[in-house]
């Protein structure tokens, strides 16, 4: 049975392996260079305190490859579900070959066990290699990425570490399950893609923020968490302050809610260009005539404005990876159980 499974899988497995090898070579050749340029850049910038500029420059220079490899890791599980999972059963049903193979001296339970086991193992191994390789390679870039593309950001989190293994296993078994229920390849592929995409959106939006209780805290305003202060030139409108999705002291944290608190401790609702603040713009440090610098920020802090943020700190990256992989493993096991039940009871 192992031989037959491998015989049917080997074509696409070879293709996947080829992509994997090419990617490995490219990453292995460029990775050390990327790391050394990063450490050299950091040493240089810490001396004259221009690290923000270095980060922007460094990340900007590699943004395309960063996005490309991340996307590849995100896509791999979906492709596994689509091209290995969904057709696993439907292909047999459509060609009628299930009647051939289920009438050899092997129960269909065992047939399914070997098919699922071997294919899932291959998929998970590929996802593991992909995930860890990319995690290693993009480490310097992850450190210099802006908040929206940091390690904990929803898009990047799923393309790093061990979570892709969970996604791949789950997508594969999801495809098999849908295929068993739908019994035709193309509708099964479409449904698998839709279902997997829905789950992959639900996870970061609704589930992941609550994997561990998020931290809520207030912070003084500084360059780290203030995006900008908009002071109208004519002095008529109220000045506005917009916040960045970052918290001081916790670089790379995943900020879930971000609000400005007024001097009374009440939240100030923010519109498109920030939250309204009451500060004199005709005289004092925030007047246009005042010298540029941090004095306006100091004045706003003095008046009692604070940032209140709910966030998941970067230190929770690995715990989150383990928890999320665990969740997907449980989902995978549940669907696997269903597959065995269905193939014994209902499928014929």
């Amino acid at each position: 049975m192992i031989w037959l499974t491998w015989r049917q899988l080997r074509g696409s497995a070879a293709m996947l392996a080829a992509v994997l090898v090419i990617l490995a070579i490219v990453l292995a050749l460029t990775g050390p260079d990327l790391a050394s340029r990063y450490s050299a850049g950091i040493t240089a910038c810490t001396q004259d305190d221009t690290c923000d500029r270095f980060y922007n420059q460094f990340f900007g220079g590699h943004e395309f490859s960063f996005m490309a490899v991340s996307l590849l890791v995100l896509l791999l599980p979906a492709l596994v579900g689509l091209f290995w999972g969904a057709p696993l059963i439907t292909r047999e049903l459509e060609a009628g070959t299930h009647l051939l193979v289920w009438n050899q001296s092997i129960t269909r339970g065992r047939w399914l066990a070997v098919k699922l086991g071997l294919t899932a193992l291959t998929a998970v191994a590929a996802a593991c290699l992909f995930g860890l390789m990319v995690t290693w390679w993009s480490d310097p870039l992850d450190k210099s990425a802006s908040e929206s593309l940091a390690l904990m950001a929803p898009l990047v989190f799923g393309a790093r570490g061990i979570a892709p293994m969970g996604y791949a296993a789950f997508a594969f078994v999801l495809g098999v399950t849908v295929g068993m229920l739908v019994r035709r390849t193309l509708p099964a592929m479409a449904l698998t893609l839709a279902a997997f995409a829905a789950i992959q959106l639900t996870m970061p939006l609704l589930v992941r923020p609550h994997l561990m209780p998020p931290i809520t805290s207030t912070f003084e305003l500084s360059k780290t968490n203030v995006d900008g202060i908009h002071i109208p030139g004519d002095g008529g409108a109220t000045p506005r302050l917009s916040l960045r999705s970052a918290v001081p002291g916790h670089p790379g944290a995943w900020v879930l809610t971000n609000n400005l608190l007024g001097p009374s401790g009440r939240m100030i609702p923010a519109s498109g260009d920030g939250a309204a603040i009451t500060v004199s713009t005709t005289s004092g440090p925030c007047a246009p005539s005042a010298s540029a610098g941090d004095s306006c920020m100091v004045e706003i802090n003095r008046l009692g404005y604070r940032q209140q943020a709910t966030y998941q700190p970067l230190e929770r990256f690995w715990p989150f990876q383990w928890i999320e992989t665990g969740i997907y493993t449980l989902l995978t096991l549940g669907l696997t159980w269903f597959c065995f039940w269905w193939i014994r009871r209902r499928l014929s």
Binding site: M1, R7, A95, G96, V101, S105, I106, S348
Partner: protein
């Protein structure tokens, strides 16, 4: 003699429709059994139940004394060639033999190889490139080399041309003689079965109409032709299978163990095709009889 297949009140439902119902048969070992009936009569359903591909909705079935498809050992004892003889299009002929060798403990590799060579199949050729006849022969080889005690074939020759049909059935017959296994073979064409079967089951409208050894069936069925008569006035031991009436004449096909003495009848022997057609006709004849009575 032991049974290869026993069914008691066997039934299978698809949704709300019964594909097979109240099927009670007992097939003794050592026969080549023809399962015949019109399309959609439930032949495939019965064969899938026998091979364990389907679970019965009602009643029970035992094949070679065991529950179909329940264990690898049971699967090993029953060979199955499905309708349209499916094979893996992407695998070569040699791959198929290897598949058989890997998945069957009683695999007869020599026989499989010899058969493939005899048929002139190229081992390196992909099964998707084979002709319909060659594909059927490959599927049959897979079934035979498993060395089953019972071989089930579902419409194996339906899509083959007359020559390929004859070669296929010939190959099957040679193998039964050599290896002594029982065969259940379905078809909607009696001509296919006439040459090879010595036991017949007629399945119409998801019910078994008649089952028995061909010789016995032919000996107990007669066509009676004579002056017009109501079927109810025939002797009680003459079971009417089908009846046709013209204004002055009636033709009955009856089943009876006793000889027919009534001088009013011209008695003719039936051949297998007549017999099967009589049973297939039964349902429509019953309707027609009602119409006839209304007319009078």
């Amino acid at each position: 003699m032991t049974s290869v297949l026993q069914a008691q009140a066997l039934g299978r439902k698809y949704g709300r429709r019964w594909a097979l119902r109240e099927c009670t048969i007992d097939i003794p070992a050592g026969h080549v059994v023809g399962l015949v009936g019109p399309n959609g009569a439930g032949k495939t359903t019965l064969l899938k139940l026998a091979s364990g591909q389907l679970e019965p909705t009602a009643g029970g079935i035992t094949v070679l004394g065991g529950r179909p498809g329940s264990t690898p050992a049971q699967l090993a004892r029953v060979g199955f060639v499905a309708q349209d003889t499916p094979v893996y299009a992407g695998l070569t002929v040699a791959d198929h033999l290897r598949l058989g060798a890997r998945l069957n403990p009683r695999w007869d590799a020599t026989m499989a190889r010899d058969r493939i060579a005899q048929l002139g199949l190229v081992p390196t050729q992909r099964a998707g490139k084979l002709s319909g006849g060659q594909r059927a022969q490959l599927a049959l080889t897979l079934g035979l080399a498993k060395r089953p005690e019972l071989m089930i074939l579902d419409e194996p020759v339906a899509s083959l041309d007359p020559l390929a049909r004859r070669e296929f059935l010939q190959g099957l017959m040679e193998a039964t003689v050599e290896h002594e296994f029982s065969v259940v073979l379905s078809s909607h064409l009696v001509a296919d079965l006439e040459r090879v079967c010595d036991f017949l089951i007629v399945l119409v409208n998801s019910r078994v109409q008649v089952a028995g050894e061909v010789d016995k069936l032919l000996a107990t069925h007669h066509r009676l032709t004579g002056p017009r008569r109501d079927p109810d006035r025939l002797p009680a031991d003459q079971h009417v299978v089908s009846a046709r009436h013209t204004d002055r004449q009636s033709t009955f096909v009856v089943r009876t163990d006793a000889p027919i003495h009534d001088p009013a009848w011209t008695v003719t022997q039936l051949n297998l095709e007549d017999l099967v057609l009589a049973y297939m006709d039964k349902r429509t004849e019953e309707n027609r009889r009602v119409a006839l009575e209304v007319q009078r």
